[in-house]
């Protein structure tokens, strides 16, 4: 269970998140929606420990462990994952080798034996089969020369391999055409299970046509101004974000 309590965080000394509280239980899907500048990216980067987005007060715990005291790699090994809006390209680092390193880092953390390259081939093949992904991904370097859609698919492949407790999907729909959006969203839903919670960050309601959230939170000016069920997305569709700017949750 991820518990965020009165989180204040920012960028370059300026508070952008002004007291976020949120509880995400196992298997739940939460959607964070908000206009540009609401603090959505700050929220995700603070959670995963980006050094330029530090928390100044509040707490974040995952299964009772204080994430804010951990380095980013420790948070990841504890089960926190973020699918990036714009994943970096890493020339020279093979995609499968990268995934194997990450997979083994998690296994080592859990006290399990590391997977050798042959064992990992079986694991990656199974995940790629599940996500209907081309074997070309195995031969290429991490995100190098990928299209926007391929990068997003690769993020979801990483999520499939690492099986996080909480996955934050940071505007995973940005830059995708309708067909690619559908494929990525369907793949995400294939990975949903009772142990994995999703936090879906998005501008637009259209992603929620495919990923059905249990809870929707409207973020505005660094605060959650309204929380509700799936019907909130439809309300948002008709009113726009302006209707929520001043309303405290």
């Amino acid at each position: 269970m991820l518990v965020i309590d009165n989180l204040v965080a920012g960028f370059e000394g300026m508070d952008i998140l002004k007291g976020i509280s949120l509880t995400v239980n196992k298997g739940e899907i939460h959607s964070i929606m908000g206009p540009n500048g609401a603090g959505k990216s700050t929220f995700s980067k603070t959670l995963v420990g980006h050094p330029e987005y530090p928390a100044s007060s509040g707490s974040v715990t995952l299964d009772g462990k204080n994430l804010l005291e951990m380095e980013p790699d420790q948070r990841a090994r504890e089960g926190l994952f973020m699918a990036y809006q714009n994943p970096v390209e890493i020339p020279g680092v093979n995609n499968v080798e990268f995934l194997r390193m990450a997979y083994n880092a998690k296994r080592a953390h859990l006290g399990l034996e590391e997977a050798d390259p042959m064992d990992f081939q079986d694991i990656i093949q199974e995940k790629m089969g599940l996500l209907s992904m081309s074997g070309v991904f195995m031969e290429r370097d991490v995100n190098e020369g990928y299209s926007g859609g391929e990068k997003k698919k690769n993020e979801i492949l990483q999520m499939a391999v690492l099986e996080p407790k909480v996955a934050i999907l940071d505007e995973i729909d940005s830059g995708l055409d309708i067909d690619a959006l559908k494929v990525v969203a369907e793949n995400i839903m294939k990975l949903k299970n009772e142990n994995t919670a999703l936090i879906v960050i998005t501008h637009y309601q259209r992603l929620l046509d495919y990923i059905k959230p249990d809870h929707i939170h409207i973020l505005s000016q660094g605060r959650i101004v309204k929380s509700g069920g799936p019907e909130l997305a439809l309300e948002l569709e008709s009113t726009g974000y302006n209707g929520f700017n001043t309303e405290a949750a």
Binding site: G49, P72, D73, A76, V93, F98, A105, Q158
Partner: protein, 442 residues
């Protein structure tokens, strides 16, 4: 007496001093008589150029003044070395295709080319000079035009070298390993001057692996290789210079390429007190192609310098130069490379790139990629970059559960692979993998 000082105690030698010592050495019969003419050319050239100082164009970025103070000694006879000591240093693929130098002197009885005898001829340079006057003439002509002072010291003080010929149309059935062994002498630092002349015949194919062994003491390795790659020949050099140490290493490669020949060099080094790799390359006939891929991973106070001159002398030739450096601690790297497209060399293609990864605040990288074009219809580029590890990429790794050190190691390996992946000889590649790629982050 086996060892002869080439510096008077407590003094820095002038060229006149060196000349006087050389005459003394000649009188004492320290050199091989067949090579004395070559030695004399080297000494005369050195006398003309003088000891390299910072005003010397070839040594702008490299201070070698402590060489003159080191008190090197030259050995007439090399230290006793057994075949088993040699074999312990060889790659598994080269036990019967090896050319061995000990203390800078070619060792006929330790060398073995039985696996490639049908394709390759190997002779002591002294014997090659006697049997084949044209080899002597060609080598002398090259030496006469040598303007690199350190290479001239090799010519002046080489005791005996080797001549290798790959026969026309033949493909060497095993890679040829050129092994430089040097003993450690507690009393003095050793001066070694190995010389190798290689003639790759028309249509011949061969791979060379050049290796220095682990060094425990300070000594001067100053080798020169003269290479002729005849029409349509195909040559690969894998030069692996590992194990940082207190040695001074100077390596000069002179290459003449003829029509449609291909010569590729991969150089991987970990640096030493001073390492200098100088390449003088002539693309003499149409369609010749050359490539240098170089990686230096430097630490402590290592100084590593690359100096390359490539001349396009005929139409339709191509050159590719890639120098990559990883600079840790207070290490220093410099690359000074020049591609000259001479008049008439139309249709030339050339690209030069120098890439440096500065991993410490105190490291330094100097880059000088030069391009001189005297012909029309050419496609040439040159550039240099200096950067650090990308923080966003490091964070991406960490957000997947890898530590910062693991991330940095992986990125440095990725940087290196562009060069190391070019080593196609599997045993040589394994040596590089084990010693270069695995030691990252130490």
């Amino acid at each position: 007496m086996n060892a002869v000082a080439i510096k008077r105690a407590g003094t820095v030698k002038t060229p006149d001093d060196v000349m006087a010592d050389f005459r003394e050495l000649l009188v004492n019969g320290c050199f091989t008589k067949e090579l004395v003419g070559l030695n004399a050319v080297g000494l005369e050239n050195f006398n003309q150029t003088g000891f390299p100082g910072r005003k010397s164009e070839k040594f702008t970025y490299l201070d070698v003044s402590d060489l003159a103070k080191a008190g090197f000694h030259l050995r007439k006879e090399p230290s006793q070395t057994t075949p088993s000591q040699v074999e312990a240093q060889l790659l598994p693929s080269t036990h019967k295709s090896r050319v061995v130098f000990v203390d800078g002197i070619y060792m006929e009885h330790l060398s073995d080319i039985s696996a490639i005898r049908d394709q390759v001829e190997l002779l002591p340079l002294s014997e090659a000079f006697t049997q084949f006057p044209e080899i002597k003439d060609t080598t002398l002509q090259r030496a006469i035009h040598e303007d690199d002072p350190i290479a001239n010291l090799n010519t002046a003080f080489t005791i005996n070298g080797a001549h290798l010929r790959i026969k026309d149309g033949e493909q060497a059935q095993a890679p040829i390993e050129i092994l430089f062994l040097a003993a450690r002498y507690k009393a003095y630092p050793l001066f070694t001057a190995p010389r190798l002349v290689i003639d790759v015949g028309r249509g011949a194919k061969v791979d060379f692996i050049i290796k220095n062994t682990k060094e425990y003491g300070s000594y001067l390795h100053n080798s020169v290789m003269d290479v002729s790659a005849r029409e349509s020949s195909d040559v690969n050099f894998y030069h692996i210079s590992l194990h940082s140490g207190p040695a001074w290493r100077f390596f000069k490669l002179n290459v003449d390429q003829y029509a449609k020949s291909s010569v590729k060099l991969v150089n991987v080094s970990t640096g030493s007190r001073i390492s200098r790799y100088a390449y003088d390359w002539n693309l003499k006939e149409p369609g010749a192609t050359m490539e240098i891929r170089s990686l230096a991973t430097l630490s402590n106070k290592a100084k590593n310098h690359k100096y390359a001159t490539v001349r396009h002398q005929a139409p339709g030739c191509s050159s590719r130069l890639l120098f990559k450096n990883v600079i840790n601690d207070e290490a220093r790297s410099s690359v000074d490379s020049t591609v000259i497209v001479e008049p008439g060399a139309s249709g030339s293609f050339s690209e030069q790139l120098i890439r440096n990864l500065l991993v410490s605040d105190k490291g330094r990288a100097d880059n000088k990629p030069n391009l001189m074009i005297h012909a029309d219809d050419v496609q040439c580029s040159h550039g240099a970059t200096i950067g650090q590890l990308d923080e966003e990429i490091l964070f991406y790794f960490m957000s997947r559960g890898l530590t910062r050190d693991e991330a940095a190691r992986s990125l440095l390996n990725a940087f290196a692979r562009e060069v190391t992946n070019s080593i196609k000889e599997p045993y040589a590649a394994a040596v590089v993998d084990e010693t270069i790629l695995q030691r990252r982050g130490e």
